[in-house]
Amino acid sequence: MKGKTTVKLNTALCDRARKLVETVGYSGLEEFIEHAMERDLARLETSESKEELLRKLQGLGYLK
């Protein structure tokens, strides 16, 4: 697992977010920001080939 990267964000924006994140179920501001990034990346990134994804699942006992 790669480590963490420090990013400088607008303090006022972070304060606004910090007040709300736990009420919607995040464990903190970091998780909220990571989720926001993931959602956008999912739309932008090209995914791995289907063959590669299926290869990674090989051997999982619950699936044929």
């Binding site: 697992m1 790669k2 480590g3 736990e22 009420t23 919607v24 179920g25 995040y26 464990s27 903190g28 998780e31 909220f32 989720h35 999912a42 739309r43 995914s47 791995e48 289907k50 994804l53 299926l54 290869r55 990674k56 699942l57 090989q58 051997g59 999982l60 006992g61 619950y62 699936l63 044929k64």
Partner: protein, 651 residues
């Protein structure tokens, strides 16, 4: 004139000397600095911990997870006096059935155990997730992406950096919260902890840790009478005659392989030669872990399963070598190395018991049992070594042999054959481990023995894609009656709902799925219609589906968008069919399950609760697995954070 021969000392030797010298000097310097600041570090830690343990009800918490331990069997054998330690724990403290998650799957339930939140807040809903644009399946718990910096030489690709690995389980496990307060934990083999995330404590990853080939476990099955072919969960490979013996190539990651040979030695025993070493092989007995370099480091066990008239050899998946791990399987990174050096090598694969090798006939029941027991012995050694070293904080370990063996031997449970006592013996052995763990319990220690779900038989499979097709919700390409794996042949432009994985049903929602057609305004009505039609679905005279749950009613949290729209609660005896789990459409909705994998828990959660034992009195009604994290935090005097949903059971 006399000739003198003068030795030439080139600059390389100087660099080598200076390099080594510098390394020694820096090591000594680091040791000196570490020694100087050690008293201050200890003082700082003691001050942090003093405050914390001052409010604590327990100095030490032991968690013994027995994956899939079934309450009905436990209660029966406790009543018959066959599980004396569990019975004693129940009589002196507390025993109750533990409410599991919906769906009752290990990755989902153990994630809830760790975080104290529902799946909508930890993002694990099944073993599989889907790519919303392409519908392609992905492992829900971790994403391993190959290094994008590679050096290509001909057909070889040499990665110049390590793969990128992400844990997809969200929220924050209780051991990280304890670590923030200076309370250390040793977390062994709790599912969905790969990759290991840094925290103040030690952790060894479990379920979803891949093998060295990047799969969830691919065995190799060599035979002197077969050509190369694929089998489910592995590959069948030839042994070729060579020098009076047989030779094979064991595949590693990518295009790498390691050659080996087997032959009958002078004393009449079988000798395996691999990587410059020779090992005696006894037919029917596993070799020790053998370390190999591909050049990434892996470990395997060999098992000679047949010697005449043909030779057959089973090789376990190439697991990540804990002494030189290619991926982050522990925190700190050297913890796996330390365990391997201290206790010997051990299985690192997420689901190490090779269920597909038994399903496919590469090994028989006896060999599967031997393998499971070897793995269990490794875990037991590791767990008690951790208990020996834990004076304060949490020591937690999940034994998953209970789950794997029930999956494979449930069909024998009520029979009178050779294996009819396997599950009872397994429960008795777990009781022995509980008894051993109880010797580490004093008045300042709280112990929990729990399972994440129970078990039931798996006799019939249900293909809901086929039901959706027959009832006009799913369409195939013109002229097709069946669809292939992972939605091959599905006409998305006419499909409103589909299924894959073990319990989820998805709407093909416009704006969410890549080729979605169900408009947002129609989704609610479609969900209601499917719930009404599928709840109490019958297979002839038998109930196949007990209930269907709408995820937006049972989950809450920021990851709700990734959840299946409906969760199917199959009746005991039923489960998603093998075809439905991989997105196939078949002509028949119902089919017999004839595999060795004959027990399961992917049913309605009310049918398969887990168990909870503790040495403390507990009056809380209806305990749930989400209550465990807040309970452990409260035992150490820490208020559970606001996002945690469970409640502390021991107040």
């Amino acid at each position: 004139m006399s000739w003198q021969v003068l030795a030439y000392i080139g600059p390389g030797a100087g660099f080598a000397f200076l390099g080594s010298f510098l390394a020694v000097v820096l090591s000594l310097l680091a040791s000196f600095v570490s020694l100087c600041i050690w008293p201050f570090r200890m003082l700082w830690l003691a001050l942090r911990r003093k405050g914390r343990f001052g409010k604590a009800r327990a100095k030490k918490v032991i968690v013994l997870g027995l994956d899939g331990l079934e309450p009905k069997l436990t209660e029966r054998w406790m009543a018959e006096g066959k599980l004396p330690h569990l019975r004693g724990l129940a009589e002196g403290g507390f025993y109750g059935r533990l409410r599991t998650t919906c769906p009752p799957l290990s990755p989902v339930a153990w994630s809830t155990f760790a975080t104290g939140v529902n799946p909508g807040a930890h993002n694990i809903f099944d073993f599989l997730n889907r790519n919303l644009r392409t519908y392609a399946p992905e492992l829900s718990s971790a994403r391993v992406t190959k290094s994008d910096r590679v050096w290509k030489i001909g057909k070889w690709e040499i990665p110049l950096s390590r793969p990128s690995v992400e844990l997809r389980r969200k929220s924050k496990p209780f051991w990280e919260i304890l670590g923030d307060s200076g309370i250390g934990s040793t977390i062994l083999r709790i599912p969905i902890t790969f990759p290991a995330v840094p925290f103040d404590g030690k952790l060894l990853s479990a379920m979803s840790t891949p093998d060295l080939r990047g799969t969830q476990g691919s065995f190799s099955w060599f035979s002197s009478d077969s050509d190369e072919s694929s089998v489910e969960g592995g590959v069948k490979l030839p042994l070729t005659c060579a020098d009076g013996g047989w030779r094979g190539d064991l595949p590693g990651p990518g295009s790498t392989s390691v050659s080996f040979s087997i032959e009958i030695g002078g004393a009449g025993d079988w000798v395996l030669r691999i990587a410059g070493r020779a090992w005696n092989l006894i037919p029917g007995e596993y070799s020790p872990w053998i370390r190999l370099s591909f050049p990434a480091h892996g470990i395997v066990r060999f098992l000679l399963t047949k010697t005449e008239p043909t030779v057959s050899l089973y090789v376990t998946p190439v697991e990540i070598d804990p002494e030189n791990p290619a991926l982050p399987i522990s925190h700190p990174a050297h913890y796996a190395v330390y365990l391997a050096k201290l206790l010997g090598s051990f299985a690192t694969l997420g689901m190490a018991e090779d269920t597909w090798a038994l399903n496919e006939g590469a090994i028989d029941e006896d060999s599967f049992l031997k393998q499971a027991k070897l793995i269990q012995a490794e875990r037991e050694t590791m767990f008690f070594s951790a208990l020996d070293r834990t004076r304060r904080g949490v020591a937690a370990c999940v034994f998953d042999t209970t789950d794997r063996m029930q999956h494979m031997f449930y069909r024998h449970l009520n029979g009178d054959g050779r294996y009819s006592g396997v599950i009872e013996d397994l429960y008795r052995d777990m009781d022995r481990i509980v008894g051993r763990a109880l010797t580490y319990v004093d008045k300042n220690t709280t112990i929990f023995v729990l399972s994440d779900h129970g078990f039931c038989s798996f006799r019939r499979g249900v293909n809901l894609n086929s039901w959706l097709h027959q009832n006009g919700y799913l369409a195939l390409q013109p002229g097709q009656n069946e669809g292939g794996e992972y939605f091959e042949g599905i006409d998305w432009s006419r499909t409103r709902a589909y299924t894959f994985g073990l319990s989820g049903l998805y709407l093909n929602l416009q704006g969410r799925e890549g080729q979605g057609i169900v408009k947002a305004g129609e989704a609610e009505q479609l969900r209601t219609e499917l719930v009404e039609r599928l709840s109490h679905l019958m297979d002839g005279a038998d109930l196949a589906i007990q209930a269907v749950y709408e995820s937006n009613r049972i989950y809450r949290g920021p990851y709700l968008d990734a959840a299946p729209d409906l969760i199917v609660g199959y009746a005991p005896g039923y489960r998603a069919s093998w075809g439905a789990a991989v997105g196939r459409v078949t002509e028949a909705v119902f089919e017999d399950n004839n595999k060795c994998w004959s027990g399961d828990h992917c049913v309605d959660p009310s049918a398969v609760p887990g168990v909870l034992f503790t040495n403390q009195r507990c009056a809380a009604p209806n305990p749930g697995i989400e209550d465990m994290a807040p309970t452990i935090l409260r035992l150490f005097g820490i208020d559970p954070p606001s996002w945690m949903e469970g409640r502390a059971l021991l107040t």
